[in-house]
C-alpha cells in the first residue's frame, strides 16, 4: 500500500513536470504552429543561469526569478534571430532549425558550464511528510511543483480563451496574413509566444532540477516524455497537456516500479499509440473534421 501510494505520488510529481514542459510546447504550438525541440536545452540554460546566481550566494528565489526572466528574453531572441527567417516556410524547416539549436545550446552549455553533475537546490523541504506513522512521498517541493503547474495551466486557459491578446496570438499563428490585415502585430505576437513559452519551459526546467542533479543533458528525457505528453493531450489544449503529462507520469511511474524501468520508453510508445489510434488529434482535440 505504501509503495502504491508513493509510486503514485512520485508519478504525479513527475507528471506535473512533464505537464509543465508540455504546456510550454503547447503554448508555442498555439502561438506559432511550431514544435520547439530546443525547448529543453533552452530551459537547461536558464536553469544554469539560476545555478550560477545561487552559487554566487543569491537566494533561491532570486535565481528562480532571473531564470524565468532570462527564459523570456532567450525565447524572444531565438524567435527574432532564428525562427523569424523561416516563418511561412515548410514546417520541417523550423523543426530542423530547432533541432540544430538543440545541439548548439547543448554543446555550448557543456563548454561554458562543464558537463559534470551539479546539485540544484529546492526552495521547500525535500522530506516526505508523515501520515499516521507511515511516511509518504509528498514533499513540500512536490506540492509546490503541482501548484505551479496548475496555476500556469489556468493562466494559459484564461489567456487563450478570454483575452484579446490570446486571440491575437492564435490568429497570428493560424493566419498571419489575415491577422496582419486586421491590425494584429503578428511579429510581436510570435515573439511574445516564444518568450512566454520559453518562460514556462524555464519553469519546468527549474521544477525538474529542484532537489536533484543538473548537467547539460538533464532535460533530455523530458524532451521525449514532455512531447509525448503534449501530443497525448492534444497540442491545442492546455488542459490536455496537463492531463497528458500526469497520465504519462503516473503510468510510467507504475511501469517503472512494478514491471521494470527498461520498459518505460516502450510503455510510453504503447500508451501514445493506443490514444492516437482512438483519437488521432490527442485526448482533448475538439476540432470537428471537415475536409472538403
Amino acid at each position: 500500500m505504501q509503495q502504491f501510494v508513493n509510486t503514485a505520488l512520485g508519478g504525479i510529481t513527475l507528471g506535473a513536470v512533464y505537464a509543465a514542459f508540455a504546456l510550454a510546447l503547447n503554448l508555442i504550438w498555439r502561438s506559432t504552429r511550431i514544435v520547439n525541440f530546443a525547448q529543453a536545452p533552452m530551459a537547461m540554460i536558464t536553469t544554469y543561469v539560476a545555478l550560477v546566481l545561487i552559487d554566487e550566494g543569491y537566494s533561491y528565489w532570486v535565481g528562480f526569478a532571473v531564470a524565468l526572466l532570462s527564459g523570456l528574453v532567450l525565447g524572444a531572441v531565438v524567435e527574432r534571430v532564428v525562427i523569424r527567417p523561416v516563418e511561412g516556410k515548410p514546417d520541417i524547416n523550423a523543426i530542423i532549425l530547432t533541432l540544430g539549436l538543440f545541439v548548439v545550446l547543448h554543446s555550448a552549455a557543456a563548454i561554458v558550464f562543464g558537463s559534470r553533475f551539479q546539485s540544484f537546490p529546492a526552495p521547500f523541504g525535500l522530506r516526505g511528510i508523515e501520515v499516521g506513522g507511515t511516511s509518504i512521498a509528498l514533499t513540500p517541493f512536490g506540492v509546490f511543483t503541482v501548484v505551479a503547474v496548475a496555476t500556469v495551466m489556468v493562466l494559459l486557459v484564461l489567456l487563450f480563451r478570454y483575452t484579446d491578446l490570446g486571440l491575437k496570438m492564435r490568429a497570428s499563428a493560424f493566419g498571419p496574413e489575415v491577422a496582419r490585415l486586421l491590425g494584429v502585430r503578428v511579429g510581436r505576437m510570435l515573439t511574445l509566444g516564444w518568450a512566454l513559452a520559453a518562460l514556462v519551459g524555464s519553469l519546468s526546467g527549474l521544477l525538474i532540477a529542484g532537489g536533484s542533479l543538473v548537467h547539460p543533458a538533464y532535460m533530455d528525457s523530458v524532451v521525449v516524455y514532455g512531447f509525448v505528453a503534449a501530443v497525448l493531450g492534444g497540442l491545442d489544449s492546455p488542459v490536455g497537456s496537463v492531463v497528458g503529462g500526469v497520465l504519462l507520469g503516473l503510468s510510467l511511474s507504475f511501469v517503472s516500479g512494478y514491471v521494470g524501468s527498461e520498459l518505460v520508453p516502450l510503455s510510453a510508445l504503447a500508451i501514445l499509440m493506443v490514444v492516437l489510434l482512438l483519437r488521432p488529434g490527442g485526448l482533448f482535440s475538439h476540432v470537428a473534421e471537415r475536409r472538403v
Binding site: N6, G10, R116, S119, S135, A137, S212, H215, L252
Partner: protein, 423 residues
C-alpha cells in the same frame, strides 16, 4: 591525412611490430565519452592520464620516449567507438589502446583490436571480458577489480557482519549490476529479498526505492554510478527510508557524492552531518578523501603542475593511476618495446607491479584481469574508514583471503616508476 596506406609496416614477421613508436616517442590512444549523457564524470578520466604523461614527459619520458596520448570522443555510442578506434589504429597508427572506457563501447572494438594485434591495455570498466579469457583476447588487459570479485567481497562481508539483514539490491541494468549481483549471490543468496534495476539515463528512481522500502530491506547494496548514489539518497530522504547503504566502489566516490548532496543537507536536513555518514563501500586505490596518502600527495602534485585546471577528482586520480601502470608496462617491455613485448612483459611481471592499487594485479599468462581485491570501508565525515584489511580473490569460486602486501606500496621519490625490463 592520407598516406596511411604507404607508411604501414610491411613486415609483420620478425621481431614484432613497432607501429606507433619511434626512438623518442610513443603514441597511444583511447576512447572516452567526452560528450553526451555519460560525459559527466567520465570525461575527466583522460585529463588525469594526460597530466601524468605530461609529468613523465617533462621528466625525460620513458627511456627517452615521450608519451603522446590521443583521446577520441565516442559519446558512449559503440558505433562511434568503432569509428574512432578505426581512426586511432588505422589513421593515427597508435601503438596501443590504453584505458578505452565502457563495456558496450569497448566490446565493439575488442575483437578488432585483437585481430589487428593492437595492445588493448587497462580497459576502464570492470567487466570480466577484459581478461578472463586471454586465449580469446590475448591483447586485452583489464585494470580495475572486476565487478564480480567486488560482489563476492561485499557478499562475504555482509554474510559475516550482518547475517540477519534483509538485503535489497539496487542495480544498474547492465553487466555492472549483473556481474555484481552474481558475486554477491555467491554468499548471501538467501538474504536477498528484492532486486531493483534502474536504466541509466532515467533519473527517476523513485519507484525503485519505493519498492525497496516496501520490501522492508535493512541493507541496500548498490551497484550504480555516483550520480545514482546521490539520486537514491535523495529519494530515500523523500521517502524517509533509512536502511544501511552499501555502494560498490564505482558509485561511492565520497567526495563527489558528498559535494552533490551537500547542498541538500544545508537547509532541508536537520542534523548537520553529511548525508553519507555510515554508508559502506569498498576501496582499491586511495582517493581524494585521503589527501595524506603518499599516492594522493603525488597525484596532487602532478595535477597542480600539469593538470588542465579544475579540482583534482577521483576520476582524475583513476586516470593517473592507470597511467602509472601503463608507464610501468612500458618500462617492463625493455628499451625497444614492441606491441608484443609489452603484452609479454605484462604477463610475466605485471603481477608484481607496485602501484597505487591496494591489491596486486592478477596479470599472468592465464589471466589478464586487473587488481585482485579491495577493502571494505565505512564513510565518516567524508572520509573512507577501513573496516577490513585488503581482501583478495579471483573470479569463480576462488576463496577470499586477506592480503595487505600491496597496500603499503609507496610511490618512488620522483613519482615515476622504475620497472626492470622483463627479459
Amino acid at each position: 591525412a592520407c598516406g596511411a596506406g604507404e607508411s604501414r609496416d610491411d613486415d609483420d614477421s620478425g621481431g614484432g611490430s613497432a607501429v606507433g613508436i619511434t626512438d623518442d616517442s610513443i603514441k597511444i590512444g583511447a576512447h572516452f565519452p567526452l560528450t553526451g549523457v555519460a560525459a559527466p564524470g567520465y570525461s575527466e578520466i583522460p585529463s588525469g592520464h594526460q597530466a601524468y604523461y605530461d609529468y613523465v614527459n617533462a621528466n625525460g619520458g620513458v627511456n627517452g620516449r615521450k608519451i603522446e596520448f590521443v583521446v577520441k570522443d565516442d559519446a558512449y555510442d559503440p558505433t562511434k567507438t568503432s569509428s574512432v578506434t578505426n581512426e586511432l589504429v588505422l589513421e593515427d597508427e597508435i601503438f596501443g589502446m590504453v584505458s578505452g572506457l565502457g563495456t558496450p563501447t569497448h566490446s565493439a572494438v575488442v575483437d578488432f583490436l585483437n585481430s589487428e594485434e593492437v595492445p588493448d591495455l587497462f580497459v576502464s570498466s570492470g567487466s570480466l571480458m577484459w581478461g578472463d579469457d586471454p586465449e580469446a583476447r590475448p591483447w586485452t588487459f583489464g585494470w580495475q577489480p572486476d565487478y564480480e570479485i567486488e560482489g563476492k567481497i561485499i557478499g562475504q562481508w555482509v554474510k559475516e557482519n550482518m547475517p540477519d539483514a534483509k538485503v535489497g539490491l539496487f542495480l544498474q541494468d547492465d553487466d555492472f549490476g549483473e556481474d555484481g549481483e552474481a558475486g554477491v549471490r555467491q554468499y548471501i543468496d538467501d538474504q536477498i529479498v528484492d532486486v531493483q534495476r534502474y536504466t541509466p539515463g532515467n533519473t527517476d528512481v523513485g519507484p525503485q526505492i519505493a519498492a525497496l522500502q516496501a520490501s522492508k530491506v535493512d541493507l541496500v547494496l548498490g551497484f550504480n554510478v555516483p550520480s545514482y548514489t546521490a539520486l537514491s539518497q535523495l529519494v530515500a530522504m523523500k521517502l524517509n527510508f533509512t536502511p544501511k547503504w552499501f555502494y560498490s566502489n564505482v558509485g561511492s566516490d565520497p567526495a563527489l557524492v558528498g559535494s552533490l548532496l551537500a547542498r541538500f543537507s544545508e537547509g532541508s536536513v536537520k542534523d548537520d552531518a553529511s548525508l553519507l555518514d555510515g554508508v559502506l563501500s569498498t576501496e582499491y586505490i586511495p582517493g581524494v578523501d585521503a589527501p595524506d596518502d603518499p599516492w594522493m600527495k603525488l597525484w596532487q602534485q602532478v595535477w597542480d603542475e600539469y593538470g588542465e585546471g579544475g579540482k583534482l577528482t577521483n576520476y582524475r586520480v583513476y586516470g593517473m593511476s592507470e597511467a602509472y601502470t601503463f608507464v610501468q608496462a612500458l618500462q617492463a617491455a625493455g628499451d625497444d618495446p614492441t606491441r608484443e613485448s609489452v603484452v609479454e612483459a605484462l604477463e610475466q611481471v605485471g603481477g608484481d607491479f607496485e602501484g597505487p592499487g591496494m591489491a596486486p594485479f592478477r596479470y599472468s599468462e592465464d589471466s589478464h584481469l586487473g587488481i585482485s581485491g579491495m577493502s571494505v570501508v565505512e564513510l565518516k565525515g567524508g572520509k573512507a574508514d577501513p573496516l577490513t584489511p585488503v581482501l583478495v580473490t579471483d573470479i569463480g569460486d576462488a576463496e577470499i583471503t586477506e592480503d595487505d602486501s600491496a597496500a603499503g606500496d609507496v610511490p618512488p621519490d620522483n613519482g615515476i616508476p622504475d620497472e626492470e625490463p622483463a627479459s
